[in-house]
Structures are given as C-alpha cells and as structure tokens.
Amino acid sequence: MHTNSLYQEVILDHNRKPRNYGRLDQASHHAVGHNPLCGDRLDITLKLENEQICDIAFQGESCAICKASASMMTAAVKGRSRTDAETLIHEFRELTTGKLDTGHPHHLGRLTVFSGIRDLPTRVKCAILPWHTLHAALNSIASTSTEANNESTQAVSNHPFG
C-alpha cells in the first residue's frame, strides 16, 4: 500500500479546515472517546430531535486521520436519522477493517477515501475513533475507549458522566 493513497487531498483538506468543529451548547447527546495508545481524545456533542441529528460538533486533539474522519463524519450524518447514522457507523467500521464489499451498494460516498487504512492496522483506530464516539453518544454512553475490550470496534465502557 502506498501511504499517499491515504493522505489524499480530501483528507488533508478536512484536517486543515475541519467542518463542524467545536461544541454545541444545547446538546441532547454527548460522548468523549479516547485512544489510550496515542493519547487522542475526541469530544462529540449532538442535538437529536424526532430521531434526526439536526446538529453535531466535535473537538479534541488528534492526528490528521482522526480529525479528517471526524470532520467528514459530522458532515455525513448531519440532518440524517439515527438509523441512517448507525448504518453509516456500521459500514465505516466494515470499510476500515477490510470487511466491506465495496462492489455491493453502500452509503459511504466520499468516505471510501479511508479504505486504504485497512492496510495500516495500527492506524485503523485513528479513523474509527470518531465513529465509535458517535455510536456511544447516540446510545447515551458518556465515555468510550478504543481499548475497552479486544473487540475494539464494539468496545464501550460505562463511566458516570460528571
């Protein structure tokens, strides 16, 4: 795999100018995701009305892959239903772990730019962290970690949010 196919212009652009960056004041859902392996931390706030994500924001310290993934994710799920978001979360996990058959119909669109990460197992968690955190937020789990158990993409841990 050539790394250049991962650090494509679209990813570099979202890293430079992340969309939906910040924190919503009136959030209905919130979660913090951690990747203890690299110290990355991501905070997601969103507003869910009638099962629609009407607004979403993220902030945190992370690598370019994680930040671009978060930026593109927020753009992709904004205005979509909770069910649509969960479908995207599932498909993105499948894409980055090399399990998605891109020959079959899917809903990822430009997010397939992350497909190259499947060849860099140590970086998969960077791309997945925002999605993992979004899943936690939608399910009212305040804090989550990529290392909470072995099945990292499924991992969640309950912490009282204070």
Partner: protein, 419 residues
C-alpha cells in the same frame, strides 16, 4: 564456532569498521515498499546479528534439553551452556559472583521481582519510595501497586526543561521514612543519562537500596555494578541484540538472600513436603520453572558480540551519530527536539509544528523509515513537556549518517504533505 567473527579489540579504537559490523545484521538488507529499511527504533528493540542467530540455531539443533534435571548428555550440555551465559552476564556488568545474576523474562519482570521479593517483605505503611519523572511505566506501576497494598507513599523527582533530573530536589526528598529508590539509568523517551552514581551514593547515606532500570543503559555504555554500588540493576536481552523473552536482574547477594521468592515452582526449591518447602539458594530461588534456556544462551552470545566490539567504542560511535543527527534536525524549521540534556544516548524525541506524531510515523514509514511514535510508555514525561506524544528516532551502532540523512529527507517530505 564459539568465537565472534569480528576481529576487534575491546579497548577504545577509532578504526572500527562500522560498515562491516552493519553487514552482520541480515534484517538491515530488507526493503520496505521498495525502499531500504532505515531502522531507527532501537530503543524499543534492537536487531540481531547473524552470530546470535547462528548461536540459537546451534543450540536448537545440537544442544537442547531441559536443565538442572537429568543425567543424560544433552541435559548436561544445556545446563552448562545456560550457566556459561550467566557467567558472561556476570562479567559484562562486573558482578562479584555469578549467583548475583538472575534470569528473568525482561526488565519489567526484573523490576516486578524486586517489588514482590523485596518490596512486599520490607516496605510498610507510611514508608516512602522515591521514583523519578523520567521512569518508564514499568518502574512506576509495580511500585504504585505496592504502595496501594501497603499504604506506602511514592515521591517523585522532578526534571528541568532539558529533561535532566533535578538532583538537588532528589536529595531533599530523603527522610527517615524513605525505604527504596527506583531510578532509570537512561530515559527511553528522551535519552537523558542520569547521574546514577551520585544518586546511589546519596541514597546509601540513608541506607536506602537503589534499583537501576538499565534497559536503555546497558546497550549503550559499559556497566560496572561494583563501581556503581547499585543494589539492583535490570535489563533485557532484546535491546542488546539478543532475543526477546529473557532479561536479567543483578542484585547484591545479601539482599537477594534476604528476599522472599516471587514465583513458586520447580527448580526454586531445596525440598518440598506438604508441610513445608525449603527454598533453593540464589539465583535458583528466583528462577522457578523451566527458564527460557535458548533465549538465555542467545543473550550470552549477544554479550560476546557486543563485548568484542567494545561498549566504549559503541558509546563513542553512537555519540557522533547523535551529534550529527541533532545538528541536522535543529536546522529544519518547525522541528523541535524534546529532551536536550547535556548527557544523552543517541535518542532524539521530536515534534513537528502542526503535525501529529502518528501522521509523521506513517509517512516516514512510506520511505522505509522506522521510528516510534506515541508516549513511549512514559506518560509523566509527556505531561511534563505538555505534549500528548512525540516521534522518536533511536540509534544503534549499526546505523550510519546516510540513515540520518534519510530521516531528514523523510521529515521534509512529511512537512510537504501537510503544507
């Protein structure tokens, strides 16, 4: 067959053929994605020369059996070779006696042995254990576990902006409750060489034993435990061109004898009944079960190999590499070196403005360059410098200036990608 295939003397000499030594390491011929491997992650693990690989093969093909047990030929050969490896380590660190060298699974295991064998027996509630900001997690967590169990307290020596220990502050931490010091010889994250002799001497004024975590010290300089007068010294084979899965703990005989065993099992006993077990003498008391015999013998071969080159020669050569690499990196705008101690091994931790270390590592890898990125199992050091992580290039004696140039070019590529 037992001899080292390099004709070098172990005194300081300027005419070591480092190019020929590099050729002893077959893995360095690898191409990564078509690019020559530039292996700069030696602080994590070093590579193995053919001499050690051959030794492992010879052991497995001609000498393997379990040790200390049977009367048959192979068992006697394996027992002798395992013992010889211990003696090589004894000489390598200039220990008084071979029974002061205990084989462990690595530095972490060695430290845990001291925590369990010494700490759990002698450290009590309200006692104080001194550690430093530079410690690797492996010399923090065991002592925290002990402190939590006993109600003891951990005191931490601070560092200055260069990443050097504040020795005056260390000395102020001592009082009548101080019962143990855990001290890293060389910082894995920054390369700082600590003034351990001075610090050991000071601790001994208070009759406090000192454990040196030598994981990053032993590979890069000659160690004399009698001259240092340290009470314990620990390191791993795989950072000294040896195999993984084995390391050693040096301990003063009297201390080791006073300690309780850490693991129970075969070989560590003199006699067993269901009423009572009498423990074996040192070092066997601490080597329960079948040890990593092959790895220990490989460890011995690695010691032969390094000794033939000479640790003084290695230290001098690596120092020239460090100076060259430092001079190159400080000239790149946006690159900041974390850890600028006066006394350093050839480790350069750095950050690049606006670019996360993991992105740096991935893009350098594209050019075949292996560096470590992350917190280096030294989160307190990262917190001190207020960075989540760094990239770290760590050099060995088989690296060269061409590889430093490759790193510099790689960093410029990284900056171009993120321009």
């Amino acid at each position: 067959m037992n001899s080292v295939n390099i004709s070098l003397k172990s005194e300081i000499t300027s005419d070591v053929d480092w190019g020929r030594i590099r050729a002893d390491f077959p893995i360095l011929d690898l191409k990564i994605d078509g690019k020559p491997l530039v292996y700069l992650d030696n602080a994590a693990s070093s590579q193995m020369p053919q001499f050690v690989i051959d030794r492992l093969v010879r052991y497995q093909t001609k000498q393997h059996a379990n040790i200390n047990r049977a009367v048959h030929y192979l068992s006697e050969v394996a027992t002798q070779e395992y013992h010889d490896a211990r003696c090589k380590l004894q000489q390598f660190i200039n220990a008084r006696e071979d029974r002061e060298v205990i084989f462990t699974s690595g530095t972490t295991d060695s430290i845990n042995l001291v925590m369990q064998g010494y700490g759990r027996k002698f450290i009590k509630a309200n006692d104080e254990i001194i550690l430093t900001t530079l410690e690797h997690h492996s010399n923090i967590v065991p002592w925290q576990m002990l402190a939590n169990e006993k109600g003891a307290k951990i005191r931490v020596v601070p560092i200055n902006d260069k990443g050097e220990l504040e020795v005056d502050e260390y000395e102020k931490l001592f009082n009548e409750r101080t019962k143990f010091v855990g001290l890293i010889h060389v910082s894995n994250a920054l390369g700082t060489i600590n003034p351990i002799k001075r610090m050991i001497d000071f601790a001994h004024r208070y009759d406090v034993p000192v454990l040196i975590d030598g994981a990053q010290g032993a590979p890069h300089m000659s160690i004399d435990v009698q001259a240092l007068d340290c009470d314990f010294y620990a390191f791993s084979a795989h950072k000294l061109c040896g195999p993984t899965g084995v390391g050693m703990l040096y301990g003063k005989a009297a201390l080791l004898e006073s300690m309780q065993p850490y693991k129970g099992g075969g070989d560590m006993i003199a006699s067993v009944t269901f009423e009572e077990t009498i423990y074996n003498t040192i070092p066997h008391k601490f080597e329960a079960g079948t040890p990593p015999i092959a790895a220990a013998i490989g460890f011995g071969a690695a010691i032969d190999y390094l000794t033939a080159i000479g640790l003084e020669n290695i230290a001098a050569y690596e120092s020239t590499l460090l100076d060259y690499a430092t001079d190159c990196l400080v000239q790149i705008p946006g690159v900041k070196i974390i850890g600028t101690a006066k006394e350093k091994t050839a480790v350069i931790s750095f950050t690049i403005d606006g670019i996360h270390p993991h992105d740096i590592g991935t893009i350098l890898n594209q050019d075949g360059i292996a560096v470590r990125t992350g917190h280096h199992c030294a989160q307190p050091v990262m917190q001190r410098f207020n960075v989540p992580a760094t990239s770290r290039a760590s050099f060995a004696f088989y690296n060269n200036k061409t590889e430093v140039d490759a790193l510099v070019a790689g960093i410029k590529t990284v900056q171009k990608v993120f321009l």
